[in-house]
């Protein structure tokens, strides 16, 4: 049967089902395959905070969204083009976000009376005509795989578990994608369970063939490759990118890497990755709590390792005292905060940007530290590297802010060559005239000598230090001097902060300023409106302390400035305090990053268009 091929620029597909339905797997396989065929891809997993929420319930729906295209895609997609719904609850939860005329692929056995009831449907939407505005494909996946795998030796439970692979096969067919990436993955993953491996390989193809042969599927879609910079690519999540960024930073610093960490959602994957890197000589301690996590990293840094501690909000709150100690000790340390929705335990699996205040101001006494933020999943690599570079160059703890969205979303990443990256190795002092608080005149970094160095025995600690000698001092003027020196040192980091780039129109009425993970949504809205002829200017910040030198000029240049943030206006307040101009805010605090259309709507409101 001849199928018609349609060409598209970009598509958003969402795999949705029960927590146990393997949607995360289908989604990430689809995203990897799509990226490996040259699309730009942006993804986001979305799952309940319960480990296995009760089957079929509305709050137990787990989903994975993939946005891919031939142009650069910067968000996981606002609205869904294709929804794979493995059960009634997943349809109900996701339908409001499906585009009109969007494709639904529904698994009938997930729409039995039991599931309809759990999803609080009065009648079966697959049958009652309520989906007539969509391109609905109803498939009894369970029967198909059961029939195919009868006699395969698999338990019924294991057979049931292949449903997601079937759905994946259909999706590959729909978008004309090769199976081999997933085939390779199945072979590796189940190498020790040949019957499971074979069943999955079979079902994958079966899904593909089902679509190919079913008259119900009339169209196939083709998305041409995106114009990505030449290079070697892979898909990467923000959390893995942080892990790799630190590994590479340690290599380029010629230092061993040490991670001291305590598990916490959504930062734990960084620990997961790094704990597997023993082959690379990397050490870690899963500490008894966050305080021990950071203190052990400080101890390791004292010994000459690149010290790293990773956490999310509640853990950052616990590390506050030790960060202050690192400020006084002037030892290099990288603190990664994968922000989540707070306050307190809040919504642990949801994203937010509300830790900017604590990162900037959350220590007793005068204890400034450089704060930087990553803007996309792959940017997490660069910013982790950057955090390490600043920490080592200025002998200071550095806070890197990412968030639950960045940590878990993924996109293709051009893998840099090690040789492309700068040498960031520090100099250890070894001369006998060592003075622990003598400073490099340019960076104000203090001199660093390691235990084990003969003749340089010295003592440091959390009490105020005498200038140069580092002896304990309670001298009033010395204290003032040291407080100011520490502040100046952090201000000096400005030497390493690139000027911000202004995107868009110098003569626009409105300047947008974003920071961190909102980049995708703001940029998408910005590009769209400018394509439509709206004049706009846009700056996206990665350096939050110190702020870029040329930022103030831009803020004063534009009549209106809008600062969209996933918080109640923290950056806005800081910019006002510094640049003394009234700014506008857009504050979404819903555990989700912005949708591009939300930004667009606000811009239109502000500009009255």
């Amino acid at each position: 049967m001849e199928k018609q091929v349609r060409y598209l620029d970009e598509v958003t597909i969402r795999f949705a089902g029960d927590s146990g339905d393997g949607m995360q797997l289908s989604g990430s396989q689809f995203s990897d395959t799509s990226a490996s065929t040259g699309n730009d891809v942006n993804t986001f997993p979305d799952y309940p905070s319960e480990i296995r929420a009760p089957e079929g319930t509305l709050y137990g729906v787990s989903a994975y969204q993939v946005h891919f295209g031939s142009k650069l895609v910067k968000t996981p997609g606002d609205k869904i083009d294709v929804l794979i719904a493995m059960n009634a609850a997943s349809l109900k939860v996701n339908l409001p976000n499906l585009k009109k005329n969007g494709i639904i692929i529904a698994n009938t056995s997930g729409f039995s009376d039991k599931y309809l009831k759990l999803a609080k449907y009065e009648s079966n939407p697959l049958e009652d005509g309520s989906l007539k505005d969509y391109d609905l494909h109803v498939i009894d996946i369970n029967s198909i795989v059961e029939k195919e795998l009868a006699g395969s030796g698999l338990t019924p439970k294991n057979i049931d578990r292949t449903k997601n692979i079937f759905a994946l096969g259909i999706a590959y067919w729909l978008f004309n994608m090769p199976l081999d990436y997933t085939q390779k993955w199945i072979e590796k993953k189940f190498s020790k369970k040949p019957e499971v491996r074979d069943a999955n390989l079979k079902v994958l193809k079966l899904g593909w063939e089902y679509a190919e042969n079913s008259p119900d599927f009339k169209y196939r879609y083709r998305i041409s490759s995106a114009k990505l910079e030449p290079g070697t690519y892979r898909n990467i999540t923000g959390n893995e990118a942080v892990a790799l960024g630190m590994v590479v930073a340690a290599r380029k610093a010629k230092l061993p890497l040490f991670l001291g960490s305590y598990p916490i959602t959504p930062a734990t994957e960084i620990l997961h990755h790094i704990s597997g890197y023993k082959q690379y000589g990397i050490k870690h301690l899963q500490a008894e709590d966050e305080i021990a996590g950071i203190c052990s990293a400080i101890g390791a840094a004292y010994g000459g390792a690149l010290g790293l501690t990773t956490t999310s909000g509640p853990g950052l709150s616990l590390k506050v005292e030790a960060i202050g100690m690192a400020v006084m000790l002037e030892l290099p340390l990288v603190i990664v905060d994968v922000q989540r929705a707070g306050p307190s335990t809040g919504m642990p699996t949801k994203t937010e940007q509300a830790d900017l205040f604590i990162a900037l101001f959350g220590r007793h006494g005068e204890a400034p530290v450089p704060v930087i933020a990553a803007i996309t999943a792959s940017d997490c690599f660069q910013m982790a590297f950057e955090a390490a570079r600043i920490a080592l160059k200025y002998m200071t703890p550095v806070i890197l802010l990412t968030d639950g969205y960045l940590g878990q979303s993924s996109e293709p990443w051009r893998i840099p060559k090690l040789s492309e990256l700068p040498d960031i190795s520090p100099t250890f002092y070894t001369e006998p005239d060592y003075q622990p608080y003598k400073r490099d005149p340019e960076t104000l970094a203090r001199l660093w000598a390691l235990p084990g160095t003969k003749g340089l025995e010295h003592r440091i600690g959390g009490l105020e230090k005498e200038d140069i000698t580092g002896l304990v001092s309670h001298d009033p003027l010395n204290h003032q001097k040291m407080v100011e020196l520490r502040a100046q040192k952090v201000e000096r980091v400005i030497q390493d902060v690139p000027d911000v780039e202004l995107w868009g129109d110098e003569d626009a009425e409105l300047l947008l300023i974003g920071w961190g993970s909102t980049y995708g949504a703001i940029k998408t809205a910005f590009d769209k409106l400018r394509n439509e002829g709206v004049k706009l200017a846009y700056i996206h910040l990665k350096y939050l302390n110190p702020l870029p030198k040329n930022l103030g000029g831009f803020i004063h240049k534009f009549p209106k400035v809008l600062v969209p943030e996933n918080n109640l206006g923290q950056l806005k307040f800081v910019l006002q305090g510094k640049y003394l101009k009234e700014l506008m805010g857009l504050h979404k605090i819903q555990g989700q990053t912005f949708r591009a259309y939300e930004i667009e709507a606000k811009i239109k409101e502000v500009l009255n268009i």
Binding site: G38, W185, T232, Q279, A287, P451, H458, R459, G461
Partner: protein
């Protein structure tokens, strides 16, 4: 995977110098009160370190906050005066990163067992090769005299003007409950015994916890006099020596015998019991160590001094190194560029 610190870690030019105690004095004025038990501890540590055949630059002393935690300032070695309660956490990271260093902790009963309690029990179970000298003066001194977790019930302090209500920790029992491999106790007045304990701790491979009864002349003066003065010591303490029966008394005329699990004092002169009936110390026996630790607050029994337990278990940092080596043997030394490429990558040109 050469790093910048490799030649600091394992330098070939190490010449074991002949040190004297003076080499371990930092020259900074010791700012403890006259008569503080800390002085004697400091001297004994300075006396022992030269004997250990470790280059001076390999020693690191880490402390928290408290009078006791000022210790590192007085030592001419690498010193790290951290924040209250966190010395062991800092030390753990240092020791894992730098197994070549000889890492020591100076801490107080409050620093180690109150705010630092969690790091204490976790470090002991992990068995990092770190020596913990806990100056137990049964009070918070630096903050001018509050109750500590080893203060006794009823003790009057500034924060318990009507008497402490808490049951004190028994530090040795807590350490044993945390699977410590080495647990010992000594006191500030007995310089020889302190030296012995510090030497034993230094030579133990793994976490070594030494509780030192330390007099605070200001906030808890004479707290330990009832068993530590020259007059009381013989009757009120008993020395634990591996393989030896527990004998004590001014004329070595008493001993400790076990009645079931219950230690009791017996006289060796009234011909009911002889040395052969006495409990013989065995540092390898955890149960015995626990029984001895539990003699601590029992006023009818002498206070045990010495090594409660000394058993061997692999250290945490050894296991880390071993895991790294095993991985490298299995998979080869990691290629970072390969790691970066991950499971699947592709070229775009």
């Amino acid at each position: 995977m050469e790093t910048l610190i490799d030649n600091i870690i394992s330098k070939s030019d190490i010449t074991f110098e002949k040190y004297t105690p003076k080499d371990f004095k930092s020259g900074i004025d010791v700012r403890w009160c006259a008569g503080c038990g800390g002085y004697s501890i400091l001297s004994q540590v300075q006396r022992i370190l030269p004997e250990l055949n470790i280059p001076r630059e390999k020693f690191v002393f880490i402390s928290g906050i408290g009078c006791s935690s000022r210790f590192p300032y007085y030592m001419n070695v690498y010193g790290f005066h951290s924040i209250h309660g966190r010395a062991l956490a800092v030390a753990s990271g240092l020791k894992i990163a730098r197994p070549d260093l000889s890492v020591w902790i100076a801490t107080g009963d409050g620093d180690c067992m109150s705010i630092g309690g969690n790091h204490f029990i976790h470090m002991l179970r992990r068995n990092l090769d770190i020596k913990v000298l806990m100056f137990n003066n049964e009070v918070y001194s630096l903050t001018k005299g509050q109750a500590s977790p080893t203060s006794h019930e009823g003790q009057i302090t500034k924060s318990s003007p009507l008497g402490v209500l808490d049951t004190p920790f028994n530090p040795a029992a807590l350490a044993l409950g945390s699977s410590a491999s080495f647990v010992a106790r000594t006191f500030d007045r007995d310089t020889k015994h302190m030296q012995l304990m510090f030497e034993r701790a230094a030579k133990h491979r793994g976490s070594a916890f030494v509780e030192i009864y330390t007099n605070c002349v200001i906030y808890n003066d004479k707290a330990f006099d009832f068993f530590t003065t020259v007059d009381t010591r013989k009757e009120k303490t008993v020395l634990l020596e591996h393989g030896k029966p527990l004998i004590f008394g001014t004329n070595n005329d008493k001993g400790i015998r076990l009645d079931g699990f219950t230690p009791q004092v017996v006289s060796l002169t009234d011909s009911t019991w002889s040395v052969n009936d006495l409990l013989v110390h065995n540092e390898k026996d955890s149960t015995l160590a626990f029984i001895l630790a539990n003699m601590t607050y029992n006023e009818s029994l002498p206070r045990p001094m010495g090594v409660f337990q000394d058993i061997e278990r692999p250290t945490y940092e050894e296991k880390v190194e071993y895991q790294i080596q095993r991985e490298i043997e299995l998979k080869g030394e990691g290629d970072i560029e390969k790691l970066m490429r991950g499971f699947e990558y592709w070229e775009i040109s």
